[in-house]
């Protein structure tokens, strides 16, 4: 293994580095683009001020989360997310329905749980409401 590494540096020339860097760039690009890795779109669930969990949007599943007031159910369905049950009184979070685009967020304030779709490029740093 070490012999191989030594030999590598004997053989390699400056132009090779360019090819290597381009190749690595291609690898990174293809993984980000095709594998929806953390720079792709995914769901972030916050409890109070910490990220509780991160989930891929490419699945159909229900997650049960415990918040300040109690248990809440979150549906993920292939690209869209919603609250399906929550222990708050007003159920505003549920009435917001499905969200499916980067930067969309639904917050259940009484339960202190928020769900956000995180995307590659944030068009803005914060939301005024």
């Amino acid at each position: 293994m070490i012999k191989k590494i030594l030999q590598f540096f004997k053989v390699i020339k400056s132009g090779d580095w360019l090819i290597i860097i381009l190749f690595c760039g291609l690898i990174i690009f293809s993984t980000k683009f095709l594998w929806n890795l953390p720079q792709g779109e995914y769901l972030e669930i916050y409890k109070r001020n910490e990220i509780l969990a991160t989930y891929s949007l490419n699945q159909k599943i229900t997650k049960i989360i415990n918040g300040a007031k109690g248990e809440t159910k979150i549906n993920i369905d292939n690209g869209k997310v919603r609250f399906s049950s929550a222990p708050c009184a007003k159920k505003y979070c549920i009435h917001q329905g499905w969200i499916n685009k980067a930067n969309q967020t639904i917050i259940c304030i009484p339960n202190q749980i928020s769900i956000s779709i995180v995307g590659a490029k944030r068009k803005y740093d914060s939301i005024n409401y």
């Binding site: 053989v11 291609l26 690898i27």
Partner: protein, 171 residues
Amino acid sequence: MTLSTINIINRDHQIAKLSAIAVALSLIEFFLPSPIPGVKPGIANIIILYTIFKFDLRMGIWVSLIRVFVTSILLGTFLSPTFFLSLSGALFSLFSLIIFRNLNSKYFSIISFSLITSLAHIAGQFIIVRLWIIPHNGIFYLLPIFIISAFIFGLVNALVTSKLLQLNSKK
């Protein structure tokens, strides 16, 4: 016999010898299990690269094509999808070599050629797969794996070949 005729006969011998080794390696590789379907080290490519660098591109083309045809005939996969995959990969590799053959060897070593050809090789194979064998976009999910393995094996093959060239030039 004239000198040129002797050279031609020498060349043919070389081609035959090298092709035989390449075929043998291909056969061995065929019977070795691989953890991920479709991901193979492509060790026969070492011979092809060796041929190109020790001799010239034309010989490399001969050896490469002979390898593809003979291997598939011996394995009984001639004209099967596997054969076309192999052929497509080989052709794309060779095309990329023809395009890049003028790369200044002061700045580019065998490593660059190996990486370029291995990328072209999987590109050629991928196109056949996408168009014909698994014709839907789910296949793109596997592309990163192939690109990564092309990178790794491209590097390894380059180093092995360079070592071989080094050893043989001492003779």
